[in-house]
Subunit: 389 residues, 4 copies
Amino acid sequence: MGKDVYNRRLRGGMVGGGPGAFIGPVHRMAATMDGEAEFVAGCFSRDAAKSKEAGDALHLDPARVYRSYREMAEQEAKKPAGEKLDFVSIVVTTAYHYEVARCFVEHGFNVVCDKPMTTSLEDAHALSDLVGKAGTAFVLTHNYTGYPMVKEARHRVATGELGRVNKVVVEYPQGWLSQLVEGGASEISMWRMDPAQAGPSNCTGDIGIHAENLCRYVTGLEIDEVCAEASSFIPDHKLDDDSMMLLRFKGGAKGILYASQISSGEENGLNIRVYGTKKGLQWWQEEPNYLVLKDPAGYQTRLSRGNPDLVCAIAKEYMRTPFGHPEGFIEAFANVYREGFKTIRAQVAGDPDPGADHPTVHDGVAGLAFIATVLESSKSDRKWTKMKS
Amino acid sequence: MGKDVYNRRLRGGMVGGGPGAFIGPVHRMAATMDGEAEFVAGCFSRDAAKSKEAGDALHLDPARVYRSYREMAEQEAKKPAGEKLDFVSIVVTTAYHYEVARCFVEHGFNVVCDKPMTTSLEDAHALSDLVGKAGTAFVLTHNYTGYPMVKEARHRVATGELGRVNKVVVEYPQGWLSQLVEGGASEISMWRMDPAQAGPSNCTGDIGIHAENLCRYVTGLEIDEVCAEASSFIPDHKLDDDSMMLLRFKGGAKGILYASQISSGEENGLNIRVYGTKKGLQWWQEEPNYLVLKDPAGYQTRLSRGNPDLVCAIAKEYMRTPFGHPEGFIEAFANVYREGFKTIRAQVAGDPDPGADHPTVHDGVAGLAFIATVLESSKSDRKWTKMKS
Amino acid sequence: MGKDVYNRRLRGGMVGGGPGAFIGPVHRMAATMDGEAEFVAGCFSRDAAKSKEAGDALHLDPARVYRSYREMAEQEAKKPAGEKLDFVSIVVTTAYHYEVARCFVEHGFNVVCDKPMTTSLEDAHALSDLVGKAGTAFVLTHNYTGYPMVKEARHRVATGELGRVNKVVVEYPQGWLSQLVEGGASEISMWRMDPAQAGPSNCTGDIGIHAENLCRYVTGLEIDEVCAEASSFIPDHKLDDDSMMLLRFKGGAKGILYASQISSGEENGLNIRVYGTKKGLQWWQEEPNYLVLKDPAGYQTRLSRGNPDLVCAIAKEYMRTPFGHPEGFIEAFANVYREGFKTIRAQVAGDPDPGADHPTVHDGVAGLAFIATVLESSKSDRKWTKMKS
Amino acid sequence: MGKDVYNRRLRGGMVGGGPGAFIGPVHRMAATMDGEAEFVAGCFSRDAAKSKEAGDALHLDPARVYRSYREMAEQEAKKPAGEKLDFVSIVVTTAYHYEVARCFVEHGFNVVCDKPMTTSLEDAHALSDLVGKAGTAFVLTHNYTGYPMVKEARHRVATGELGRVNKVVVEYPQGWLSQLVEGGASEISMWRMDPAQAGPSNCTGDIGIHAENLCRYVTGLEIDEVCAEASSFIPDHKLDDDSMMLLRFKGGAKGILYASQISSGEENGLNIRVYGTKKGLQWWQEEPNYLVLKDPAGYQTRLSRGNPDLVCAIAKEYMRTPFGHPEGFIEAFANVYREGFKTIRAQVAGDPDPGADHPTVHDGVAGLAFIATVLESSKSDRKWTKMKS
């Protein structure tokens, strides 16, 4: 029963990602890159005309293009085994993640959800509980951990090559909101800056959690205490557009985390530096095919993706092209889907969880806990705030 | 008749690209990335079992997985309009490009063919004539010209921003054969090093023509004379593994072109530098999202893919992700397909050639003319050899 | 009287800088690079034999090589005008800066002093008062502000090219102590790690103040409040070897400052990033000949030292070599001396202070205030600590 | 007799280097950087007033500032041992190198001479013979070989770390003349472009020989045959402003050498890449503190100057600052002087040649042989021209 799922393309549905969207198309390219899945149903917009437009552009059967996500969940739940969706990708604005994900989980669907998972820690816990009870697969697209050299970094740290880690610096500077600080582009009123749609945080919630997730994934360290300053430089901006903090990790390591949307001229500069007693390492999202190891004796070694001497099995496996042939953002995103599909296939087949390497509903809870802690710390006079869970 | 081709996914077939192949999967990812095409038929290997294995892995209808390319051409030619292949991608080893392409063109198919187009200039001319008569579309995957910043470079040169071009340096250093020079990996006997499969040239034919194509695409200059030295450093290697040359362009500019497979430690270092009377520019395939302009007054400007101030319309259009979110080799390859699909759709619809921006059968002829000229120059005592055509 | 000082080499003396020292020779190379000064007297070590050895190596008159700095101050103060020292460079360990500087100022000498100026804020104020009363010149060698592209950065900020500055990130990571964390090099017991010699701080005092000084010099911003965490990762290390902090500047800008000696594999990575409403800039000490300006539209401009379009007069003037001919650490140090010599010559000539561009005794006070504030903040439970003065 | 030379500063004289000169001040900074020499005499210009102006600026005894180099040679030759010049630095325009050097050698002086040594191969041989007979020291300032990481590169090649060298690419692109191609700066009529002053070559003679010298120094390979194209892109320019060539080395290696003054936007981009059977290496003058080793398995190692694991003794010794503290052009130049001083001191002391690591009169001959070969090859219809000697 359902074992054929290992020998066929997965059938996906999508909620969100209509005309003009950025992350929806990325999900579609990522999910289908390796020929393992195709999207066959969707509700791409709350505007039925736009939803239809998107469905047509994707050459979908019009009968499977819906006017509301509820209708989609209800109708698709009735499909026979041979047509039923194996997963639904949720790429709506953050404010709707929770209700849409809840609806599909309740209807028994496996879910791939963009981050942040919800707008509140309470919702995150509720969703996590629900997924646990439903026994469905849940893949959170913290896409940056899909880069092979991030996986290699994680393994180099885990195997002790750096020695004991003392210091971590993780940054996520962007500059795309910097010109709003002077009001130069005031006509742009984005949903990310609107508490009703983005939740209580903009910068920390949108990109700070990527930095936190990357830090946790690479170092394996858990943040114990945070001392944060979240700021709104844009006039009348209710949410944060810059978020900087000192970190104390369990076990004694310390760190700095910095996310910003007003760092003029920065593009998408997520990067991490990890310093152990023996070596340091550095990875930078804008040159993602390389991992740099730094030796105190005065040399740096730049490892290329595709190097046969990589120690991380999955980093070696995830090589669509040889070194020197750059892979990028979409391929990394595809790697999250590829691992997610392992979990999804096992779920459809009724097999045990294969322990695939992708973020889950638990990472979603951790992200919301981080956001809540940062916001609390930022308002506090106390220097250090314990990490929530 | 056939106008529906604008509103549906293209149907593709593939010849070659079976288990273990590198470029076949790249073609599949590239062709399907934007949801504009799907592969529905193929002959993936001369070994019928392997062809079947590949077809299964791709979830194809077994009835459309063939044992020979001739069978495929014949059978697929009989399909009704609603099933007929819109194009066939040819990714077999170079020695078979000509006969396979010829066969499909003769059966009326549009062809996407990997480079070099053939193993001889004569075959190239013959294929070009055949395509001309058949009126079919022919797309040659000189993939590096698919990078948006290469297109931007071309436009910056064309609009005169650099002034009159005097000097061009184009390099394509690789190191993957360097260890064979000492016999260290003698078990590897690759088809690229076998004249029967690769034709009369290895290095010039495999990567030298990418450098030549890039040079021509970016500068718009035509090579007038070549002074070349093609070398075989690997013992008993019948073909060249290093190829270097001085160039004289029509109009007075001069240049250096250098392709090598024994440049130890180089990965896939295709790069071009163009120097005009006003400015210089530099593009490097291993950091393909950037174009560097160099000003004699002492500053360099690094333009990012996605920059709204790019002057090249197509470079702005081909933005799957914003700047800071790296695109790579596969996305560039997909851009060649995307432009190719414009030509293919027009052909299927019976519309005029839309003049899309992709390499054609004429670029294939130019590549073979270049190879022949380089080999002749290399054997000659004369300093300069006129470029063949 | 004394006006000949404009037409002759300055006569310098040195205290410290004996065999094995690092910074002493740098001072000598820097002070003499442009032929404007020569050292003619010195007390190079508390060990008279070593002092003599150093004096001989420098080809000094043995009569002007002293056994103690007091003897030197007393004897040199008696020299006639035509032989008298124009300045004394103090390069002893930090613990002795105050008493040596005090002694020479009291004897009427102009002083060039390494940083940190003293080991306590109290001593710094006392020395500042003394210098004020004596009317002597005082040059503090915060050498990194001597780099021409740092001066250019300062001017670009000052002229408003970046818009209003919102965010500053300044880092000074080093890794040279990282291996001590595991006790791997325990035989090294350096004076910098000894409170008796280095004062109450190691990392903040040695390199944190360079970061603070660079930040103040480039941005012109004054730190209002600090939230700091100074750490000792090396077992039994009484002083800090890592120092990280959040900053609030007067006027509303915010920032991060990070200095570390246990960031394995980092060399001498002082760098600053400044983000305004219009642009960002970046300067990195390990590639000091360049200044990078970042535009939110998606391009970066790298300006070279020597570029005729620089806006800073002094950056254009301080060009010993054209662009492309790298200048480094010693040349930047020499620039501090060169500006210092303007002040010293004016003092000797009895002319008004020419307002030369070099750090002074006031920067020394600011540095010690910064150290004291950081240490207090680090011990405090309060999140923010007001900057001392 | 003369043994005191080991315990005192050397006395230098200079011919050329008057007001406005670039390389004269560099020689002065380089020669005096380590306190091993001082300039005490000179003839800085053919214009006596300018010579005096320069002498005053250097605080020289007016009696030792001369109106002509002949007068200087004659007068200085009469000085007693305790005052006599230990060396004379010749920094006049190239056309005068030969006659000035000849004059000082004939008067028994040790000479430090800028490059190219002469304007003809005949003069170079004559000067070499003369120096051989006179037994004086002769130091040629091919300054780029003074960089520690160039020395390290040489040693890594010599010890076989790269395996057998097959391919060398050495480039020296500059762009400072590019704007003359359009006549944009026609008022500049530089001596380097005047055959009467620069000799028969501009670009090859000025910078091509640096590339040749660097190539020979690093690889130890001798050029056997040259296939060159020297070009004049600047209208009415009698000399070459771009020079590119293919190389065959004795022993079978091949290479490309490229020097240019019309490569718009390039600064002083001398660089070398060496590819052996095992590894590749790369050094770039604009980031001179690093040497990059490239491994075919897909990683690069960047070694820093100052790294204790360097294999070259002299590279480790020549460390004025630790890694991370950049050294530059002047320091490299100073290293040539420092080695030259070993030879000069031995000559003064009557000791045997110590075999110091600096270019000599023989390198000067090799440089002129290279220029002559390139010019002959460039005019020839034959593909390959044997290297002259």
